[in-house]
Amino acid sequence: MSHATSMGLPSRKMAFWAFIGSECLLFGSLISTYLIYKGRSLEGPTPHEILNIPLTSVSTFDLLMSSLMMVLALAAVQRGDRKWANIWLFATAFLGMIFLGFQAYEFTAFVHEGLTLQRNLFGATFFVLTGTHGAHVTVGVIWLLTLWSIGLRGRLTPDKALNVEIAGLYWHFVDVVWIVIFTLVYLLQ
């Protein structure tokens, strides 16, 4: 249950926007650390030797698609369409899991090519930045699967739409962070 504030806004939603604001500062610090140390590694592998743009473009498309699924899930919950709400929620979580699979594959390939957390400044800042993002995606997937299981029991009624909306805010934030990482880390090497 969420109480309205004196401004007439749901207090949980307000608190969550404040949390997302604080997350901007967290990712801002990680992104600036990556950019400051970029090109200062004393030994390879360097970004242009190792980053796989075609693979990451596909995972970016995957995450964008998951954002569409998320808003469709919210719309279905709001109109009381339980069947499609469950389908879209599971599709969002599934696409999130595919993104994590891409990231696990990428990390494994990098380690095999000699890039580890300790190898150089690029490895340290790259793994911390993208790993933190991946941890956020993992939390999002668990959250979505929890909502999906609630939906399967028929408890995701229109009066619970705020629960899905807040999960959606988190998921879309994870998406916009990836939009920035994709450009700054992968495309601007």
Partner: protein, 98 residues
């Protein structure tokens, strides 16, 4: 219904926004591979990325139709984060003025 205190975009709008996001992503990747764009790569990619960011925040996170106070709660820390990034990049010589 507390989740519907404001009007959200329609499903058609969501799908159109997704189409635009995909097209802009294809342009981003295309620009990366075309040598003619190399000199303009940084401003071009930053602009396209910012455009995608704004689209998701406005339409999928509903800031376009939601209370302005949520925009304030998100916008102030976001601007602060951008300012901190810019200040650090200047301080460490990654960005240079003039």
């Amino acid at each position: 219904m507390e989740g519907q205190a404001h009007s959200h975009p329609t499903v058609g709008t969501y799908v159109r926004v997704f189409g635009i996001l995909v097209i802009v992503t294809i342009i981003e990747v295309g620009v990366f591979y075309v040598p003619a764009f190399q000199k303009l790569l940084v401003p071009l990619l930053l602009t396209l990325s910012a455009f995608k960011f704004v689209l998701v925040v406005m339409f999928y996170m509903h800031l376009k139709s939601d209370s302005r106070f949520f925009t304030f709660l998100f916008g102030v820390p976001l601007l602060l984060a951008v300012a901190v990034i810019a200040a650090l990049l200047l301080l460490f010589g990654v960005l240079q003025i003039g």
